[in-house]
Symmetry: C2
Subunit: 637 residues, 2 copies
C-alpha cells in the first residue's frame, strides 16, 4: 500500500464526510449492485460471473450465462479495492467476511495455469488473448491486482495477492518468456503491475509493466493485424484510429494527450511510475510534456478532461466546450493518479494544484451528495429540456443516475475517496510534503503530524506535532497553491518566510510537541478567465474560492441561469449556505444583472437588464436539487 | 412555371450577378460533374446511370454498374430544372441541345409501364417500391417532375413532361387506384405533383399529392412494417424514430418542426400548396403553427435551420449552437419554398422577411463567390484547427468543397438562384406584391414594373411603370421589412403614407409612365440580440444591415476573432469594401476591443483589453479568403 495511505487518518468535515459516506452508503450500495440485488437499475452480474466461472473451472460447465459488459470483472475489483481501503480505515468484520467470500469465489475462478477472467472463461473459452484490442482482459487483471495489493495491505491476508501473482506470472510467461506480441487496448495493467512489484518486490512484475509500456505503439499496426487474424469482434472498431488507444507512436515520442482520456491518463500514470523507478529521462520527459499538454491546453477549469463524447477522447488544444463536454469522472480520477506520480518525480506544486483541482471539483461532482447516484459525464453547462435530449448533447444528463451497465465511475470514486491518504502527503528522506490540505493525523517516521482545518471552506491549516521522541527534526514542505495570492505562514504565532521552491515552502525545524505551524491561504473569492483560444469561454468569467470552482444553478436564481450577466467588478460576498441539502457549504453572492428575455427570437431592442443578486454554489454540489439549469462560465459585462 | 418566373427579368448587381454566375460557371461545372468529367472530385455517375438504365430497359442488360448514392437521379433532375430556368432567362442553343440529349436518355430509361428510376432499374430490379423508407424512389420522381415542368415552360418542349406524367400515372395507379399503403420517406413528390397539376391541369396529380400528405403519419408504423417485410436494407434505420421522417402523427396535428430539416420543409411546402388550393383550414392552420415554430424558436439568424448534424434534424426550441450547427443549405432553400407558399396563403410580411433572411444569408453562403465550391453546412462560428477536425464538429468545414458524393445542395442553389422571379413578386387580382427587392423588369397584366435598386447594399428601391396602354390601375403592395425602423415611401418625390396591412404598404394608383414610387428603407447597421433561451448567444450581439447578417473573419482582424469584444454602443461605420474578392460589398467597422490572450489556460489576471477596430463582412461572403476563424455572435461589453 502507498506509504501515505495507512499512515493518514482523515478527520475533517469535507473528505472525512466523504469517506464516511463512501463507507456507509456507497460501498454497501455498490456491493448490492454487484450482486444484482438492486431493483430498477442495470444488473451488474459481476459476482454472478465469478460464480459461473468457478463452476466452469471446476466442472467444465456452468448453469448460467455471462452477464454485463466484457470488463465486468473490473467493477468488482474496484469495489474490492475500495472495501480494502475501508477496512484499513475502519475495522468491519462483517464486511471483511463478505470480502473473503468474494475472494474465495475469485480464487475458484482461476484456472490451474493461473488465468483469471470470467468473460473468457464463461463466454468465450478458447478465445483467450485473441482480442487485446477490445476485450479488456489485461485491464481486468490489472484492476484485480490493485485490489489484491490493497486487500493484502489492509488485512494482511494474501489469498487474493497470491491469486493475482499467479495471474501475473501467467501473463509474464506469454508476453515476456514466449515474447508473444501485443499490448493492452486499455492501459491499466501497467500501473497495477508496478503496484504488485512494490508490494512483492518481485522484479519480474516491474519488467512486465515496463514491457507493456515499451512495446506500445512500436508496432502501431498490432491491433489491425490482430483484428485480421481473429474471427470475432466485440464492437467492430478497425484499429485504425491509433490515437484512440495511444498506440500511434512509441510512448517516449508522445507530446500530445490524445485518444480515450481514461486510457491516456492510466498509461501516463504507468509511464510516470516507471520513470520514477528507472530514472529514465526519455520517459520522464515524455510524462512532463504530456502533463503540460493536458493542463495547459486540454483541461477544464474543474480538472475534467476529455472534451468529446464520441470516443470519450481528448480532442485538440483549447477545444473545451462547456455544454457538450464528456469530462468523465474516471478521467479526472486518472488525472489525479498521473499528477500524484508526477509529484513523486519532482516536488512541483503544479502537479498538486492539478490534483486538487480535479479532486475538489470534477470528482466529487461525479457523486450525488447522498452517495447514491453518479455522473459519468460532468458538463459545465446544462439546460434541462435540451441537455440529455438533443444531438450532440444526449450524453449530458442533467441529473445523476443510479448504476450504469458500464459502471466504471462509481467504484472508482469510492476507491479514490478512501485512499486520499496516498495523495495528501509525500515523504522523501527527511522532508514531509503536505500536498493537500485535509485534516487528520499523519504518521511520519519521526512522529505524527496533526492537521486541523476547515478546508476547503476555510483557508487556515494548522499543523501540530506529536514526536515519537523529544522532537521531530524534519523539513515540513507545504504546498502554496498557485491560486492563493496572499499566503502567510506562522510558526508559533510569528510570521515566518521560509524558502519557497517550485511552489513549496520548506520549513526546516526541530518541532516540539508545543509547536504549531499555521498556513493561511487567501480565500477571497476570485474571478477566473480562460485563454482566448477557448472559444466557449470568450467574454465569460468563472468564479472560484480556494480550490473550489463555483457555478450558478437555476434553483438559486429564480429558476434561470441563461439570463445572468456577471459584473466585471463588485464585491463577491461569501455566505454560509442555509440550504440543508448543500451541507453548510460556503456560497458566493454577487450583484450582477438579470436580462429580460426578449419577446422574439431575434430583436434589435436591447433587452433590459435589472440588477440582481447572483447566487453561486460550489460546482461539486450541482444537480442535487432536481433538474435545473447550471452554468460555470457566465457572460460578463 | 410559376407566374413570376417568366415575367421577371432580373437586372441588378446582386442577384443579377448570381444569376450570371450560375449560368456561366455553376451550370457548366455541374454538368461536367454529373457527367463524371471533373477530376479530383467525387464522381456523380448521374448521367451514366441513365445510360445504363436505358440499356437495361431496351436490352435487359447493361455494361456497367450503378454509381453513387441511390438518389443520384435527383441531382440530374435539379440540374435540368436549373438549366431550364437558365434557358428561360437566356437562349442558349448548345445548352438546350445537350439538355434534349439528356432528356432522350431519361426517356429511354423509362419502362413501358411508366416506371423511371435508375437505381432500381440497374441495381435492384424486382425491388421497386419495397423501400419507401430509405430509397428515395418517390423523391427522385418528384425532382424529375419539377424539371419536366420547368423545361416545358422554358422551352415549350414536352417530351420530359410526358415522361413524367406517365411516371405520375404509374404511381397513381399503385397508390390511388390499387390503394397500396405507403408514403415517401423523403417528402418532395407532394410539391412536385402539385406543380405537375398546375402545369397540366390534371386533377389526378392534385389528388395524388393530397393522398401522400393525407396518409402520412396516419399509420405511423408503416415504415416499421415495411422494414419487417423487406429482405434488404440500404442504411439500416429501424423506422422507430418517426419524427425523423415526420410520420410520427398525421400532418394536420403537427405543431412542432421536427426531424430531418429538409424533409420537414419540403413536406410543409406541399401542405401549404394543398391548403392554398383546397382552402382547408385544418391544413393551413397546421402550416401556420409549423412556420411559427420554426421562425420563432428553431431558426438561426441567417435563416438556417436544422441544429444538429446527427440526423440533420431540428432539435428542440432554442437549441441553436453556433459552432456545431448543421444548417444545411438545402434546408434554408426549403424554408424559402415554404415561406413563399405561406405568402400565397396570406400576404403577411413575416413570411417574406423569413424568405429574405434565408435568401441573403444562409443560401448564398452555401456557394463560394466564384460559384465553384459549396457548403453543405453553414455554421455561425468556425475555428480552423478545431472545426472540421474534432467530434462533434467534424461536419463543420472551414472551407467549401468542390462536389459532394451526396450533391444535393449545389444544384439546389443553382435552381433557386435562377428562379428568383417566382419569389420576388406575387399577384392577386389587381394587386401586385413586391416581396423581395431585386432590380429588373416585371411584367404584370397591365404592364411592366421597372425596378431599380442597389439592394441589399442600398436601401432605395425605385419602381417605374411601363403600362400596356395609357396607364396601369393597380395596387402596388410593397413589403415593409420588419427590420426597417424608419421607412419612407414617395410617389413622384412626395412622401406618401399608404395603408399598411400586415407589413405591406398598399399603394392604389393609376400609374402613368412618368410615375415613380420610391421606397427608402432604413439601412442603419443594427445590433441584434437573441432570446435568453438561446444559450449560445447569451451576452452576445450580432450585427445586421438591411437583410444582411454580418460576421467577423480573422483575415480582416489581425488573424483572430476569438479575442474580439463588441462595444455595447459606439457608431457602426459603413464602408465600401476595398477587397477585390468581396466584390465591392459594404462592410461595417466598429470600435471595439481586442482582448490580450492570457498566458495560461486559466488566470485570475483580468486580460488587458485594447481598443481596436473590428471589421465585419456580410455572412454570405465568409470563407472566401482561405482558412480563417469566423464568428457571427460576438461577446459584448
Amino acid at each position: 500500500m502507498h506509504e501515505g495511505l495507512k499512515r493518514f487518518k482523515i478527520n475533517d468535515q469535507f473528505f472525512g464526510h466523504y469517506q464516511k459516506l463512501v463507507q456507509e452508503v456507497v460501498i454497501p450500495y455498490q456491493e448490492k449492485a454487484l450482486k444484482n440485488e438492486i431493483a430498477g437499475v442495470d444488473k451488474s452480474y459481476a459476482v454472478e460471473n465469478f460464480r459461473l466461472a468457478a463452476q466452469m473451472v471446476s466442472t467444465g460447465r456452468c448453469d448460467g450465462e455471462f452477464g454485463g459488459l466484457l470488463f465486468q470483472d473490473s467493477d468488482l475489483a474496484k469495489w474490492l479495492e475500495a472495501a480494502a481501503y475501508s477496512l484499513a480505515i475502519t475495522k468491519d468484520e462483517a464486511l471483511e467476511t463478505r470480502c473473503d467470500e468474494i475472494i474465495d469465489l475469485i480464487a475458484g475462478a482461476q484456472h490451474t495455469d493461473g488465468y483469471l477472467n470470467t468473460f473468457f472463461t464463461v463466454k468465450m473459452p478458447g478465445q483467450r488473448w485473441t482480442n487485446l484490442y477490445e476485450a479488456h482482459e489485461l485491464y481486468c487483471a490489472g484492476h484485480m491486482m490493485e485490489a489484491a495489493v490493497a486487500y493484502h495491505e489492509a488485512t494482511g491476508k494474501d489469498k487474493l495477492l497470491k491469486v493475482m501473482c499467479r495471474m501475473a506470472d501467467h501473463i509474464a510467461i506469454r508476453f515476456l518468456d514466449e515474447a508473444t506480441p501485443g499490448y493492452p487496448g486499455h492501459p491499466e495493467i501497467e500501473l497495477a503491475l508496478f503496484r504488485l512489484y512494490l508490494a512483492t518486490g518481485n522484479e519480474r512484475y516491474l519488467a512486465l509493466s515496463k514491457h507493456f509500456v515499451d512495446v506500445r505503439g512500436v508496432d502501431s499496426d498490432y491491433f489491425i493485424s490482430e483484428i485480421e487474424n481473429r474471427s470475432w469482434r466485440q464492437w467492430g472498431g478497425n484499429g485504425k484510429d491509433k490515437e484512440y488507444e495511444q498506440n500511434h507512436m512509441p510512448v517516449r515520442d508522445m507530446d500530445e494527450a490524445v485518444g480515450h482520456a481514461v486510457r491516456a491518463v492510466y498509461l501516463y500514470s504507468a509511464m510516470a511510475d516507471l520513470a520514477n523507478a528507472t530514472k529514465e529521462t526519455a520517459l520522464s520527459d515524455a510524462c512532463k510534456r504530456l502533463f503540460q499538454n493536458i493542463t495547459e491546453r486540454r483541461m477544464y477549469i474543474t480538472g475534467a478532461i476529455g472534451s468529446a463524447y464520441e470516443g470519450e477522447v481528448f480532442t485538440k488544444d483549447y477545444h473545451l466546450p462547456n455544454d457538450s463536454a464528456y469530462a468523465e469522472t474516471c478521467a479526472a480520477i486518472g488525472l489525479i493518479f498521473f499528477a500524484r506520480r508526477m509529484l513523486e518525480m519532482e516536488a512541483d506544486s503544479t502537479y498538486a494544484d492539478t490534483m486538487e483541482r480535479a479532486l475538489y471539483n470534477c470528482v466529487p461532482a461525479g457523486m450525488q451528495l447522498d452517495g447514491k447516484r453518479f455522473f459519468y459525464v460532468n458538463p459545465l453547462e446544462v439546460v434541462p429540456g435540451i441537455s440529455g435530449e438533443v444531438p450532440p448533447l444526449r450524453h449530458v444528463l442533467p441529473e445523476r443516475t443510479g448504476w450504469f451497465g458500464c459502471a466504471c465511475c462509481p467504484p472508482n470514486v469510492a476507491r479514490l475517496m478512501l485512499s486520499l491518504g496516498a495523495y495528501a502527503f509525500g515523504e522523501s528522506e527527511n522532508t514531509v510534503f503536505s500536498h493537500l490540505f485535509i485534516g487528520g493525523e499523519y504518521e511520519t517516521k519521526a512522529g505524527k503530524l496533526l492537521i486541523q482545518t476547515g478546508y476547503p471552506y476555510e483557508g487556515t491549516i494548522r499543523y501540530g506535532f506529536a514526536p515519537e521522541k523529544e522532537s521531530m527534526a524534519i523539513t515540513l514542505a507545504i504546498r502554496i497553491p498557485a491560486w492563493s495570492e496572499k499566503t502567510e505562514i506562522f510558526l508559533n504565532g510569528a510570521a515566518i518566510q521560509p524558502e519557497i521552491k517550485r511552489g513549496y515552502a520548506y520549513i526546516k525545524h526541530t518541532f516540539q510537541k508545543t509547536d504549531v505551524v499555521v498556513l493561511k491561504l487567501d480565500m477571497e473569492p476570485r474571478r477566473v478567465f480562460a485563454k482566448n483560444d477557448v472559444a466557449a469561454d470568450n467574454g465569460r468569467v468563472a468564479f472560484m474560492r480556494g480550490p473550489l470552482v463555483y457555478c450558478a444553478e437555476g434553483v438559486d436564481n429564480q429558476g434561470q441561469v441563461l439570463n445572468l450577466l456577471a459584473p466585471a467588478d463588485g464585491d463577491l460576498k461569501e455566505l454560509l449556505c442555509e440550504e440543508e441539502r448543500l451541507r453548510g457549504c460556503v456560497i458566493i453572492k454577487v450583484r450582477g444583472y438579470c436580462v429580460e428575455n426578449p419577446k422574439t427570437l431575434y430583436t434589435t431592442q436591447r433587452p433590459e437588464r435589472r440588477p440582481c443578486q447572483i447566487t453561486l454554489i460550489p460546482y461539486y454540489a450541482w444537480g442535487n436539487r432536481g433538474k435545473t439549469p447550471m452554468r460555470v462560465w457566465l457572460p460578463e459585462i
